[in-house]
């Protein structure tokens, strides 16, 4: 393909940032300087086009080191990867992380999503406006923005800071809980680093109503050094992989099927059936993807697992690869989780060095390796097919299904895609057998489940409980509400979930139990709201969230989320301009069309929480 570049030459810093990812160009054909052979030897074609999936890593390189993506920089990346500039621009403009105009080198993202809102994020933002200036306006080389959920809801309110600069200078950090003074200090460049590699999550509580015996997924978190493969092995690590290699693929899948494990990412599909379908798919190669793009507001369990027990994820991915015949695995982690990413990258490197990954997995003769890919600030990329497109270097637009990932997924090949928590469950299933696993929890929802408690509870954190535990017991484990407060509602399942009332607190937390009351476990987010909660503000925030995160591909979601926000604003803010009954009916009409006609789960659930607030909490019946 001929690439027309008219944006002027890239700067030395831009060339360095791109070359740091791709290596130096070999010839003029790839954007380098002319060498003698260029006159009679053409390069490009398939070999270059097959590197398209490196577009996001290259854009990250530019953003990290230069701080924004200029025309010259983008066009240089395009020449290196043989991607048309218009397409690369479409990709870069899709993701929140990539700036397409010059930005200050220091930026702070302040979360104002539901959990942080409950912890005073609105006051924090107001004070920042007064003391530093409005969100988005730069001052002395620094800028702050409002951000959707950063996955630090256990320590709300949260902020995230990033400093761009050439290799070695780029740094990311988090501040949680954040105060106005703390954020102002970050914006002044004063305190750095905010958190180091030694940082471990303090607010984690892994308990169950009947003592510690049910803690399985979290048992190593906070107890075993997440950076040491020896510590992991000493704690029983890689025993499940050895067992899986002894059992062989078919037996592993049988155990998984017997375990009746349901996916923990939100869709609750039978994991064994998925593995079986990929294992049997005649088309080769097969790919494995671990979905670690945990972006559902109020969800942070996968972060805790990745930060606290990264080797378990590597081991589980390897078992999955062995069982389904994958030679290549990708772990796609959201960019807002730098510590998790570093821990995982470290674990992959150590596992490779110790022979658990590579051309001879644990001496089995099988080949498998893992590549860590970084999201770029797009909630939609947690949707599995959008995630594939994102890995492939495209806009994170979901694909229509069928075909399903097990038939045609990443790079069009049969793909096994599982959530982090789902994968970690596999270890015990392989070690102890599927039947033992299936004996725990409820008959239809087996095993334990991680719940992310946040909002107005005494002790926010990740809790592991047996499936079927009641919501009331779970909230009690977290210390219940603050003194003198009463419950207003619980937002179960995140922004894509629904509100549950006080009267429904005895719902058993299982897939069938929540379904019976028209709710969903979703991603395991449990946001508790007491009578001090600004419920209307929360609904507006959810509407803004979906409007901002819609990919824009299909009409019901693209325009529907916009209209939903407009109408809700009319109903709750500019009250005079609203014809109340008409507007409530209009919201319901939009909700139905989004649920029925959207391409993916985002649009299909974009009205779920708001509709449940209208119906269950009667927020609009004033």
């Amino acid at each position: 393909m001929d690439i027309r570049t008219t944006g002027g030459p890239p700067t030395a810093a831009e060339i360095a940032a791109v070359d740091a990812v791709l290596g130096p160009p070999e010839s003029l054909w790839e954007g380098g300087t002319r060498v003698a052979a260029d006159d009679h030897l053409a390069r490009g074609g398939r070999a270059v086009r097959s590197k398209r999936d490196l577009l996001l890593p290259v854009l990250h390189g530019l953003q990290d080191e230069v701080g924004w993506i200029s025309r010259g920089g983008l066009e240089y990346a395009c020449r290196r990867l043989n991607v048309p500039p218009a397409e690369a621009y479409g990709v870069a403009s899709f993701y929140d992380r990539f700036a397409l105009d010059e930005q200050p080198g220091l930026s702070v993202a302040v979360c104002d999503d539901v959990a942080c809102k409950c912890a005073g994020a609105d006051d924090l933002c107001r004070e920042l406006e007064a003391r530093f200036g409005p969100a988005g306006s730069a001052r002395e080389g620094a800028v702050w923005h409002r951000s959707p959920c950063l996955g630090l809801c256990d320590r709300a309110p949260a902020a995230r800071v990033e400093r761009t600069g050439p290799s070695g200078h780029h740094a990311e950090g988090r501040l949680a809980p954040a105060s106005t003074d703390g954020v102002i200090a970050l914006l002044g460049g004063g305190v750095w680093p905010v958190e180091g590699e030694a940082y471990s999550p303090p607010a984690l509580r892994a308990t169950s109503p009947r003592g510690g015996e049910e803690i399985k997924l979290l048992r190593r978190v906070g107890h075993v050094d997440p950076q040491s493969i020896d510590a992991y092995r000493a704690a029983g690590g890689f025993a499940a992989l050895r067992r899986a290699l002894e059992l062989g693929p078919e037996a592993v899948i049988r155990e998984l099927t017997d375990a009746k494990l349901l996916g923990r990412g939100g869709a609750a599909f039978l994991t064994g059936r998925k593995w079986d379908a990929v294992a049997r798919a005649p088309v080769r190669p097969h790919h494995l993807v671990c979905n670690a793009d945990e972006s559902e507001p109020g969800t942070f369990k996968d972060r805790v697992l990745m930060e606290g027990d990264p080797f378990a994820i590597i081991e589980a991915m390897t078992i999955a690869a062995v069982a389904t015949g994958c030679e290549r695995g990708y772990l796609y982690v959201r960019t807002e989780y730098p510590l998790a990413r570093h821990r995982i990258e470290n674990a992959v490197r150590l596992a490779r060095e110790h022979g658990y990954l590579g051309d001879d997995v644990a001496g089995s003769g099988l080949r498998f390796d893992i590549e860590v890919r970084r999201g770029a600030g797009a909630y939609i990329c947690g949707e599995e097919t959008a995630l594939f497109n994102s890995i492939e270097g495209k806009r994170g637009e979901p694909r229509n299904k069928p075909p399903f990932p097990v038939q045609a997924g990443l790079f069009g090949k049969p793909t096994l895609v599982n959530n982090v928590e789902t994968l970690v469950n596999v270890l015990d299933i392989v070690s102890e057998g599927g039947a033992a696993f299936a004996a725990t929890g409820t008959p239809d929802s087996t095993g334990t489940r991680l719940f992310c408690l946040s909002g107005h509870v005494q002790r926010a954190g990740v809790y592991e409980v047996l499936m079927g535990t009641t919501l009331r017991a779970l909230i009690d484990m977290a210390g219940g509400l603050r003194e003198g407060r009463s419950l207003r509602a619980v937002l179960l399942g995140g922004a894509a979930g629904s509100f549950v009332t006080e009267a429904q607190l005895d719902v058993p937390l299982s897939f069938e139990g929540t379904r019976a009351i028209g709710a969903t476990l979703g991603s395991g987010a449990v946001m508790v709201l007491d009578d001090s909660a600004d419920l209307e503000g929360i609904l507006l925030r959810i509407a803004r969230f979906f409007r901002h995160e819609s990919c824009g591909q299909c009409v019901p979601c693209r325009v529907g989320t916009k209209r939903q926000e407009e109408i809700l604003n009319r109903l709750l803010v500019d009250r005079q301009t609203s014809n109340r009954d008409g507007d409530v009916a209009l919201l319901a009409d939009i909700a139905q069309a989004m649920r029925d006609a959207s391409i993916c789960g985002l649009g299909q659930t974009a009205a779920s929480a708001i509709q449940s607030a209208v119906i269950q909490l009667k927020v609009l019946n004033v």
Partner: protein, 290 residues
């Protein structure tokens, strides 16, 4: 002389039920094709027979028994025993809302008459979202002599991007940029077409269903209020420039060519042309200058 002729894998006939009527359709057909066989008019906006289905407009959705959500007729292939409803309450509701959501945000006045027919069939009232509903209104982009881009009329059907890309031209001058309601068709960094990779084949105009992309000649005449399709006739001819044999339809008003198209079902062009066939007609009407 005896080399084998590959005729493809034999395709079976499948039995499906559409609105209660059992029909036999060929394996591999879409629900839209099957509806067409039964004479059921299905609204479509982003679908075109010469382009890969992107199923983004969602106006063609139908109800399939056993499916939790509605499915797009344009891209979903028929399966044995499928039970399809094309006019259920849910289908009518979603089609109506899609048309209302588009109508409230985009200027659809130049869409084909059939689009307005669907609007009334499904009772779409775009104005019910209120006067404050955000739109994609913006100034017309006029940056070259051949065609204009009026993105106030763009419903984001992706057709122009497909035609510019692998479905026809392989030029990749435009793509979808931004996200959500701000998603839009754009060149890199919104540079003007002369600075972009555009080769002015005009195939994006050929596939645009809303008049967002338009010949400059048509745009100028509409501005001057002289555009009148009732006074136009179409002359079919073959492009004189090279030996490929592209069929041209010259749209002539007042004895001047005002627009050039090619039929979608023409085996040579599939409706697509190059810059010469599409825009190189001025020599025909240089009168009186020798």
């Amino acid at each position: 002389m005896s080399s084998p002729v590959f005729v493809g894998v034999p395709r079976r006939m499948l039995q499906v039920s559409i609105d209660g009527h059992d029909v036999q359709v060929m394996e591999g057909m879409t629900i839209l094709d099957a509806c067409g066989r039964l004479g059921i008019d299905t609204p479509t906006l982003c679908n075109l027979e010469t382009l890969t289905p992107v199923n983004v407009c969602r106006v063609c959705v139908v109800e399939v028994e056993g499916s939790r959500v509605l499915v797009p007729a344009c891209s979903r292939k028929v399966e044995p025993g499928m039970k399809i409803q094309t006019d259920s309450e849910r289908v009518r509701h979603s089609r109506r809302l899609v048309l209302e959501l588009l109508g409230s945000s985009v200027d659809m006045s130049l869409c084909a008459p059939e689009v307005h027919g669907w609007m009334s069939r499904y009772g779409a009232q775009p104005q019910r979202f209120g006067p404050g509903a955000a739109t994609v209104a913006q100034p017309v982009k006029v940056d070259n002599d051949l065609y204009v881009r009026d993105y106030s009329r763009c419903i984001l059907c992706y057709k122009c991007v497909e035609a510019c890309g692998v479905d026809a031209q392989n030029t990749f001058a435009i793509g979808v940029a931004g996200r959500g309601f701000e998603a839009h068709i754009s060149t890199e960094f919104t540079v003007g077409l002369p600075e972009s990779a555009c080769v002015y084949c005009g195939n994006c105009i050929g596939v645009c269903p809303t008049g967002a992309l338009m010949f400059k000649s048509e745009h100028d005449m509409r501005q001057a209020d002289t555009w009148d399709e009732n006074k136009q006739h179409v002359t079919e001819t073959v492009c004189p420039y090279c030996g490929v044999g592209c069929m041209l339809e010259l749209h002539v008003q007042d004895n001047s060519i005002v627009k050039v198209t090619s039929p979608l079902d023409h085996s040579v062009t599939s409706g697509h042309l190059c810059v010469k066939g599409r825009f190189g007609f001025q020599f025909v009407q240089r009168r009186g200058s020798g």
